[in-house]
Subunit: 160 residues, 3 copies
């Protein structure tokens, strides 16, 4: 990995922090992610998928293919969990970091952040670490409620 001495690559947004973003909207975005993450960690896949727009898209790292629409998103997440853990009882947690929110035209929001996963198993107090991942979302504020229109997921170990 190169230490950049020139201007940063396009991946890091150039927008100044809180450009035009109200404090209320910033709080709402934070609450949205806290709530959405809790649903994912409780394996409530249907409710999690309902936090996407009806035509929402979840774009994982290739070669996995995008899931389009809530039913496909819920199914993809459930399948991924069962592929990874089978029927093993685990309690996963997603820890969010570096949440950057900026406004886009047309009432959309861009949100970039990282997640770190921990996995706790019954009777073992210390969780094991899961992957660290970069996420880039396009959010829609629709009738006072935030929803994800598009989510792009890049696990750090596949980002080199």
């Amino acid at each position: 990995m190169t230490v950049h001495t020139e201007p940063r690559p396009a991946a890091v947004p150039d927008t100044p922090p809180v450009a035009g973003l109200t404090a209320l909207l910033h709080a709402q975005v934070q609450q949205f992610y806290a709530h959405q993450t809790a649903l994912l960690d409780e394996l409530c896949m249907q409710e999690f998928a309902a936090t996407f727009t009806e035509d929402g898209v979840l774009v994982p790292a290739p070669p996995a293919r995008p899931a389009r629409g809530r039913a496909a998103i819920a199914a993809a997440l459930g399948a991924a969990h069962e592929r990874r853990f089978g029927t093993e009882p685990v309690r996963r947690r997603h820890w969010l970091g570096s949440l950057r929110v900026t406004e886009l035209p047309d009432g959309l929001l861009s949100a970039g952040y990282c997640t770190l996963v921990t996995v706790t198993r019954p009777w073992h107090p210390v969780p094991s670490l899961g992957s660290s991942t970069a996420v880039q979302d396009v959010l829609v504020l629709d009738d006072g409620e935030l929803r994800v229109r598009e989510r792009r997921i890049t696990p750090d170990h596949l980002s080199f």
Copy 2:
């Protein structure tokens, strides 16, 4: 652990994010927890206990019993630390995640979140992981200051 395909269990609050919560109150809750956590990590048990109401209750996972009142809370936390680490020098950190805040009737707030503990020892740069825990608080806003009236703690490894 079952992947839920029906409506989510009652454990995950259904309330929409930032329902009636002002941005200032949301910021204040975040600052409250940052401050409270710093006190805990500095082992300032008396000051930590003072962030509870005078009749505040700390409810750990059974079979441990609830601690009622500030003196009991400070004593319980000090005893737990000494049971776990004795006189060994350690620097613990509590990392908060998924903070969900909702308003309750009567000027109370409900706050749910998770904590992940790390433990650093002298001269070892890399901490070891401690437990991941779900916390559910009832907060009181009293004369502009937040305090915990009730805290329920469920370590993830005991939550199956």
Copy 3:
């Protein structure tokens, strides 16, 4: 480490949460750190240094010496990264916790927080943990933009 039963040491600020801090400023500080951390994790050392004032100072734990000014800060961080990782490809993440913000006189802000580092390597999904560190910043709000005037860094393993 002693469990304190007397008033807390001076290291933990006594200021009440959100004392005079507007919700917008709190959101802006959070966005500032999310953005700054992303620049550091992308190894954009010049852009990271530009988030300091022109005469900004980065004060590491002794015996390392303070870096004064943006060029010195960018050079120190680049050198530290190359000393630690050489040309090995790694993706570091800094996870912030316990962010406490208070206003100081003269339009300055004090911000204290902790960071936990994770390091992911190509094709290994699970990162390794890096150090846990306490950071104390003095921020300047200049023409609507936040910058760091002074940063003091104390890795937890050197804090005993």
